[in-house]
């Protein structure tokens, strides 16, 4: 269950404060040029410490590729990779090792496994997502060659819809997050993703609908609590006559006049932009005292220490893109098996 995908498959491992995180990419098509600078730049996008809004923890997060690439090309064999954990402050976590922090996974992991690496959240740490970004970066390299583009953006922070230019949107976001940080609190929001130039035909009905795969992928990201496609929840008040996407010929190609469907019909891509949204809850670590219990059932008061983002949205953008890129490549490859 630490493997994602059908043909293009990512298997990951690693705890926040162990020696390293890493993974294996299996099913990478052979013969794709490997742009290592691009891969590292994708990792850098999710790294903490880039801007004003993110945590002070600053690790190099250098990915080391161990296999599957030869003379600059993918060979079709699995790509092993690791990212060392360099910047440990494990002692920070001694005070919480017997606590169940509110809305964290401490309690559920302890109950399920009977043992857990409590340091920095262990396997539940958001550091796990850097392996997804490596998997996504390789997928993007293949998609790029196919002309398929995957992009995501923060579109809402708390109740606030971001508007205007990228700079204006970033400014709005910084203002909200700064205020939340000053209050020792945290905030969530919404990221929107778009897959453009996606070929028609990706998606494997019935249970393998492309939207089902995207939903499962996105909801596997830490703190993701919701997903919708096309007009989604915002369109709940519309009727069929308002929502239906009529087909037309445009530029000699089949298109739909509108795209309320979000580029997927009957679980299969129709060639229009695939548009989806992912909801992220506020991170549960806040700089305020909270009440909880310890493993013996005693009530205890608890205040988080250390370095924590009050808002993970910016860093979640490349993760959303990565999951989408892996799904699209996986379903592109699956679709090749539809006919002999």
């Amino acid at each position: 269950m630490n493997t994602f995908g059908n043909i293009y498959r990512l298997t990951t491992f690693g705890e926040s404060h162990g020696p390293a995180l890493g993974g294996v990419i299996d099913g990478m098509p052979a013969g794709i040029a490997v742009d290592t600078d691009f891969i590292q730049s994708e990792l850098d996008r999710r790294r903490p410490g880039q801007g004003k809004l993110t945590t002070a923890r600053n690790e190099a997060d250098r990915v080391e590729l161990l296999s599957g690439v030869f003379e600059g090309l993918t060979t079709g064999t699995p790509i092993g990779f690791i990212v060392r954990n360099a910047d440990h402050h494990s002692a920070d976590y001694d005070s919480i090792k017997d606590l169940y922090r509110p809305s964290h996974a401490d309690y559920t992991y302890q109950m399920k496994y009977g043992v857990r690496d409590y340091r920095g959240g262990g396997r539940t740490s958001a550091r796990e997502t850097l392996c997804r970004v490596v998997g996504g970066a390789f997928a993007k390299l293949a998609l790029r060659q196919l002309g398929i583009n995957v992009e995501a953006h923060v579109v809402q922070v708390g109740n606030h819809l971001l508007t205007g230019s990228p700079a204006e949107r970033e400014a709005q976001m910084e203002e909200i997050v700064s205020r939340v940080r000053a209050e020792g609190d945290s905030i969530g929001g919404i990221i929107a993703g778009v897959v453009s130039h996606c070929p028609v035909g990706l998606g494997e009905p019935v249970f393998g609908k492309l939207n089902a795969a995207l939903a499962g992928a996105m909801m596997s990201i830490n703190a993701a609590k919701g997903f919708d496609l096309g007009d989604g929840f915002d369109g709940v008040g519309q009727t069929g006559s308002q929502m239906n996407d009529e087909f037309c010929i445009d530029g000699g190609q089949v298109h739909t006049r509108t795209n309320h469907s979000g580029g997927i019909q009957g679980g299969i891509s129709n060639g229009e932009d695939i548009r989806f949204r992912v909801l992220f809850k506020p991170v549960p670590t806040i700089m305020r005292q909270q009440n909880t219990i310890d493993k013996d059932g005693n009530e205890v008061a608890f205040t988080a220490k250390g370095r924590h983002d009050p808002c993970v949205l910016t860093r979640a953008v490349p993760i959303v893109e990565s999951m989408a890129a892996m799904v699209i490549l996986d379903y592109y490859l699956l679709n090749k098996t539809t006919t002999i």
Copy 2:
């Protein structure tokens, strides 16, 4: 890709106007008493023609069990089943065989497969979901023995939140749907599901989070366009201090004082009610003229014929329950492998 699940697995087949639909349930635990009346009653819940709100097509939809049950008990071997298609009006569909109906899967299926059974939507028909209900009914039989309950309800039709007693809610719904039908239009809405008395520990991080599995399951249902967990999209404006669920001891048991998380933390059930919502778009078949193109790219006007629900929400309730029941049983079984 017509198989759902890991240990408890449902594989389905069947087109709307073929001889039969059916499936195979694999991984059903041995020794469970099979209540065939219950299974049929679940199918009856999704059957058209039950109330004022649904289509006039009235098929018996009798399920025939072909294997895997002996002297009233499941044997642990696969359960094959079929449901005959009895009430064909295939000629109704001749007029649309070369059309791409707006927001249907005609176009994407044609492009993907090069051939499709256009009669009644073929494989894309909502009749496919009756196989899910059979799979869900068997899952419920096992869950019942474990004391786990799965229930769903329509909570919103279009923009209208249903309120009051079940009878009042049904009345509100009938009124809206009648109005929409009179206009030859269709309407969507939201179904909420609750899994109660779920044990702690179900869910397989990282990619196998219980919420990811539920999201993928729900988004594989026809016309589903969104999913959220716990407070979901409605809680987007809340901060961490408002959203965190503090642990406490209640009745000698670990509980959370609130349940904004929706019963899942770190991808693993925490013993609280699992609460989720599924968004359904309006069905695309409406009784109004629409513009589209045919397979040769000619623009054509098109008006649907035949019998069609203007709102599928009522019939989707047992389907949502079924998908949830299958996920919960599957993850219950998976969780047994956590330790030796």
Copy 3:
């Protein structure tokens, strides 16, 4: 675990004395012409009662296709099928319902599941294999279009190597089997399979080697006890210099001068004939008194009743072919995903 394959997948169900056996073929490529006479003729090859050597039980074993075929072509949607069980003599089995027959699966099923359908062996009956033959027949239809051929033959009965023309071989076999039947005993032997005109490149190292897939497929057949590839066990005394297959150019094509490897190198087909053998043990049902125990641990003497083949080799031939055909088609489809 009642599903076989990766892309081309067969899921089966059914007990010997239940209402029907059947299955679902998923991943069948779209657009393949469906020759129903061929499919039925394949089933007839494994049917009892064809010749002098097989049991008197004579069922029609008519396959009913329920989906996935439209206007004579596969549609890419799953193909559901059933074969009714018509000729029940369940009462024959009452005397054995509490016994553990020697070298049958009675004991292991009872221990594993706690309940079993003892009639005719239930799920463990060789009747299960007719579903494999349906899956294999569809695979052969696709392979035929690709020019790939799969064939198997009985090459050894007991210690006796069959030689000469087909008629001579059949005569030798009949003589041995008749003698064994007269003694109330049973006999096994070896079936050899050949896949010819297989393209280069099928096989997915490391764990997905084509030979590993073939071995797993063959060893899943009832009564199969051994598998080898190429020269196999017969070549154990040869050295590397004797066994190596040197490459050459023949008719403008790359070939090997010899084919000790059996057409697979490094787990990947090399274009030569894929040659393998499957060992079948004698069927455990014999017409002699045997000692065993009942479910309460009492020692009991036991003599089989009913109709039983003393040798299943002839009927196993289409099953071996079917499993091979499914593996080859599955790996053909997988190989399409090696590159974009």
Copy 4:
């Protein structure tokens, strides 16, 4: 396809002359004590350079565990590991980079992928198997706690059956291999494996028979060409009355008087010793001149350089054990899902 197993899953990566090999073990039960000395000792058993019979290449082959273990116990999260490649003589391979060595995978990899890492065989090198040994060592740690034992031994070298004490058998083997080495040739043989104290009930009919899983596992090992269970090919001349294993009560337990079946009936373990054999062909690298072609189709003569084992049997023993241990643990865990 670089993943092995259902619940207990090993995913591997790595080329012979890349930076490292490694893998991810997923599904390892939580709470198992990790004996790192044992794991390393298992790796040492397959390492070259241990005795007179194996190659001069002497690498440390130290495994580095990167995750999934905390305070000496498995945590149920995936175990990432790597083994660095320390001893490269890549230049040795320049002369063969455009050749297709007889009975190697050079040709099939080149055709399948269009690109390959030719150095030391790349992904096809037997060095890949050290990842299997790490996976097997962890499985053995869990099995040990369950009282299940897995052992393998070389029983035949070429045509020579080894007899007598371990020391005598080793002496016989050394003599044969020395002679073969002196002739610049190579030799294969047979390894026999035994799983003892295996519980009743492991195995998932129909396609998931325990023997099918073992066969697939063994045939995925480099150079494996055959597999049999119980009496196997040696028993082909026996009749049913000779081969059937009668049940009896022995020491208050159900047993079989004989074990021709090899501990598996109907695909499910019956509690007797699971006995199987694996055939290995002679390694294709020999110190004699061979004829072959290059990638342009030119005929070329070729003589191997470097250090090569004339017989891999001794080093294959821990690999056979590892594959068996992984299968048994996987099916032990699967069997826990048979009932609720």
